[in-house]
Symmetry: C2
Subunit: 450 residues, 2 copies
């Protein structure tokens, strides 16, 4: 009975066994594992066994919320309560040609919201916001918290990378998941994303959960499951949430590659740009305004967004942010100041017909092969390379006509990317029967919409 007055000791081995047997962990048990691992008291091999058991046995909604909260509170949470504007952010699960963040932050800020956006880098076939921003000469994504706050206060938005203070438990766990086959769990993905996003001190979050051949979640069912999990987790923590399940079965827009995507962002901010990209930006911005209580309907939000683009206010906000974060603002009006590849190479259509599919993961991998993305976290990125699509799904093509132009710096890599992009195109005699919608559905607190 000597131990009766001591704090009950939670042994990590018992927590692993409980999860392995399909049990629901208590807050104290989750905290013991996550905090113990972050502080170094629990060894890697126990954490990885727990991660694998969690991936295979799953978590309840309550466990997922506690895991998110524990990871969030492992580090600093920004206090932006002194800003009068509502703080709203958007997060995408990642895709090919997905440059919406660079449009949304200035649009939302120009419309009176504050957007404290902390983003990631590209990995595998998907691109990353930080790499795109760094294609603008001088742009600094490594601001201190004080500098970040100053940019945010001055122009309404600021875009940086994860700092050492934000969710250190996630950084350590993510590195372990990466090497132990435990990345692909909706529960662990949810906690990883949400712990970082909620550390931004936001009031509301719009999620863009991609589905299709270029998405992390290939099937719509998996995308919806993750979206519902993240919406519920955010709501349990007092945030306004919405998730749009959007299409990533072909690249978004026409430009893929870091500097090339900045060019397309500027087109959209000037009221131009390809229809799919423009439409998705308006839709996502509308949800940001809706959750940020600037509008009362999504339609009103889209109109406001279009107005802020049409007036040039959004472009002006972008210009200010670029300058405040050390970037060369002249590049905004003069694309020649952005990095450009030394060579281009066309991809001709092998036959006449209609484009019925563009295998999106292959297309994204072609950009990685060119040097525009990374296979490993430590790889450097060439901002200049990538490709411009001239044809997308549903378009008619003639034999020998241009499908795509590859921008490359190395002859051998250009040729490999050319082959890969050619192979990603499917061309048939008739156009595709079903056109995939841009927004598959919307998930909010009150259930499904759209």
């Amino acid at each position: 009975m000597t131990a009766s007055q001591e704090k009950p000791l939670i042994r990590s081995i018992d927590v692993i066994r409980k999860k392995r047997n399909g049990g629901e962990l208590t807050r104290a048990e989750i905290e013991a594992v996550v905090n113990g691992y972050t502080s170094g008291e629990i060894p890697d091999y126990q954490a990885s066994a727990w991660l694998m058991a969690t991936l295979l046995k799953g978590m309840t909604r309550a466990e997922t919320a506690v895991l998110t909260d524990t990871m969030l509170r492992s580090g600093e949470v920004l206090d932006l309560s002194d800003l009068s504007a509502r703080k709203v952010d958007k997060h995408s699960t990642g895709g090919v040609g997905d440059k919406t963040s660079l449009v949304l932050a200035p649009v939302a800020a120009a419309g009176g919201l504050a957007v404290p956006m902390i983003s990631g880098r590209g990995l595998g076939h998907t691109g990353g916001t930080l790499d795109k921003l760094e294609a603008i000469p001088g742009f600094n994504v490594n601001l201190s918290v004080a500098e970040f706050r100053k940019v945010l206060e001055t122009c309404g938005c600021a875009m940086i990378g994860q700092t050492a203070e934000i969710a250190p438990a996630d950084r350590k766990l993510y590195a372990l998941r990466d090497v132990t086959g435990t990345v692909e769990s909706p529960f662990l993905i949810c906690a990883s994303i949400m712990s970082k996003k909620l550390a931004e001190g936001i009031d509301a979050l719009v999620l863009d959960v991609k589905t299709g051949s270029g998405a992390f979640m290939k099937s719509e069912k998996d995308a919806v499951y993750l979206a519902e999990l993240m919406v519920e987790t955010g709501e349990r923590m007092g945030k306004k949430m919405a998730a749009l399940i959007t299409d990533m079965d072909q690249p978004l827009g026409r430009y893929v590659g870091n500097a090339l995507e900045v060019v397309e962002v500027l087109e959209v901010l000037r009221g131009d740009g390809p229809e799919d990209l423009r439409e998705l930006c308006l839709e996502l911005a509308a949800w940001m305004f809706f959750l940020g209580q600037r509008v009362t309907t999504i339609e009103e939000g889209k109109q406001l967004s279009a107005k802020l683009i049409g007036s040039g206010a959004a472009l002006e906000t972008f210009r200010k942010m670029v300058a405040l974060q050390g970037g060369d603002a002249r590049a905004i009006d003069d694309a020649k100041r952005l990095p450009r590849a030394r060579h281009t190479l066309d991809v001709p259509a092998p036959r006449s017909g209609y484009v019925t599919a563009i295998q999106c993961e292959w297309a994204g991998t072609a950009c990685v092969i060119l040097g525009g993305g990374r296979e490993r976290k430590e790889d450097a990125v060439d901002p200049a390379v990538g490709f411009v699509l001239h044809k997308k799904v549903g378009d008619s093509v003639v034999a020998g006509g241009m499908l795509c132009t590859v921008h490359y710096n190395s002859e051998a890599l250009g040729s490999r990317a050319q082959t890969m992009i050619l192979e990603s195109f499917a061309i048939a005699d008739t156009p595709p029967v079903h056109k995939r919608p841009l927004v598959h559905r919307v998930i909010t607190k009150s259930g499904e919409k759209n």
Copy 2:
């Protein structure tokens, strides 16, 4: 195409993912993980993720055989082909009061078989053969392979602990399983047991798979599953195999504790001893003789075993082995030469009636509390302590009559064990309706028997 002539590289992360997704691993994949981990190329955290995925997703029979073979071949395999006698061993999954090995080795050896027995120590509530042997003053279980072979050649049996050369992959993997909640997998248990046993260079193996409240596999279903797995794995590797599913719902025999169990072994070798222990020894010895082709029926094997005990030949073989392994052979005729606890304490029956159950894991834990077993591998064991049961399931008792006598060296521990043993007894007005059989069933190549 530059890699076309290189050996294909198997990445551990891909093997983990494949097993996580429920895939069947190839020989090359299993070898890559097991040999890579044993050599230190694959880190603990990847091995533990693979172990957890294996525990939760299972293995096919083919994978289990390959894993066993890979672990076996990670170390030395004894070559006893120059011995003319058939080499037969017995392995038990462990229980409380299970001292059959000490009887079987000399009986089988006296009957013309060679028994090269490599055993383990007690852990948790179960006892271990090495601890029992070491209760005999001077008995050395740490022989070199050359010394082991010499004892075996001289008296037909030898009993030692696992050497550093035997299945090093198992030793490393077992230590990791112990701290990562990955012990309880029939596939991993099978590979661990069989890799060590097959390293003995045997022709045949009898398995004693325990079931009941004191067994590792509490349910008969789990015990049968493990037994079938081990029988099939051994047969795939060219060994004659049989598994007996035997009862461990109460302690086997009447004596529990290392030196006390040696006393009971000597009783059985003198043709005396409790009926359940004697009967199980005859049954297991008969199967050893049957698989070792010394007899053509189990009944004949039992008669041969009884004869070898009745003639004193088995006791003589035991005496020889004890002397050859440095033990004090005089202890065989004079139990006072064995360690004895300083105090004894009776456990009286709290009421009259019939014993309907003895919770066997609690009874085993009472012995650990006394110091007679270990909670951790590094704990030392007191050979003298334990208890003697005066009543077993089905026996009638009167209030205040003796259920058990506790042998202890520490007052406080004696009292705790007394309470625990008392709580392990269930006493009711009427005897138990169903008597559990000693041998539940037998599993051999040709399917179930008995």
